[in-house]
Symmetry: C3
Subunit: 134 residues, 3 copies
């Protein structure tokens, strides 16, 4: 376990307000957050249709997780399974699941599920390789 998680505590999240790390959540009552999760500054999470973020997930700065897309007219929950990671400046759209230990590279737009253990990136995000088991 990384050194910085030894004193990890669940973040204090107030509906629609910046946390002390300057990320924010709307519909915070529908966000289920695992342990030892890192979320970067200026990340926006809209959990209207439910978001589950597993243990040891990492989310970079400037990400957006949308469970409702009022422009494209889509709704659906988002799941980031244990150990999955989302690089800086990436977006996850409604209905998407990021599989266990999958890594989504920086500046990605994730429209479809990313299987467990894969590495994906791009806009739209595509799988570029299976991740080697650590």
């Amino acid at each position: 376990m990384a050194e910085r998680f030894k004193e990890w505590k669940a973040p204090d999240i107030k509906e629609g307000e910046l946390t002390k790390w300057n990320w924010m959540v709307q519909h915070a009552d529908r966000l289920k957050l695992g342990k030892h999760v890192d979320i970067g500054a200026f990340t926006y999470i809209n959990a209207k249709n439910g978001i589950t973020i597993g243990d040891r997930c990492q989310i970079g700065s400037h990400c957006s997780l949308y469970t409702v897309d009022t422009i494209g007219g889509k709704d659906g929950p988002i799941t980031m399974e244990d150990g999955s990671c989302l690089g800086t400046h990436s977006t996850i759209m409604p209905g998407v699941t990021i599989g266990k230990d999958a890594i989504v590279g920086a500046h990605s737009l994730v429209l479809t599920d990313i299987p467990s253990g894969c590495i994906a990136h791009g806009a739209p995000a595509k799988v570029v390789k299976e991740r080697e088991t650590p």
Copy 2:
């Protein structure tokens, strides 16, 4: 009209400060905002050379609207006509008009005008299809 607009009120904008939705405007006195407009968290609007945003426009999180580009040396007003939409993580550069009901997809960099009713995306943004009339 979407349910969430039934109680829509013009946002309270203070020069250079975060609104209650955590987006911000510089030169707010030169921003003309229509009715039933949605603007997402962490969006930055620089209205130095004038910005007009029409009725029913939607702007995602993490967008930037620049009427002055101090790196490239460009200046010019920005117009988003009625019903036009800008996806999350998109940038509009000086002098650009987004036509009526046009949709700019997520993660786009808009350097040139987008005609009414079209769908465009990319960096730089290009028209990918005419939008079907709803």
Copy 3:
């Protein structure tokens, strides 16, 4: 010198808090900032391994400068030499140097050094041309 720099003063930076322009720095004691530097709203700077930003540098809104990448497992200092510019929505990863007067276009992901005087953009950022001497 641009008009807006005539009254330029070094910004007041408090560890992990938004400045009055709504950008933020972590490990602020390891950030060395030159004169007449512009940094845009919602930019995130993680200076854990040291960041040097030279005189007259411009950094757009929504940028991220990472000297530590906990997803990819990289660490290293970042240098932006005098007069270099970083467009809106761009990311600099650990260990990268942006050369003197180089320009990185908007929406770029900078993984490798950018030589002095060049223009580069893209994800990943690639040099597209030598910059003409002004």
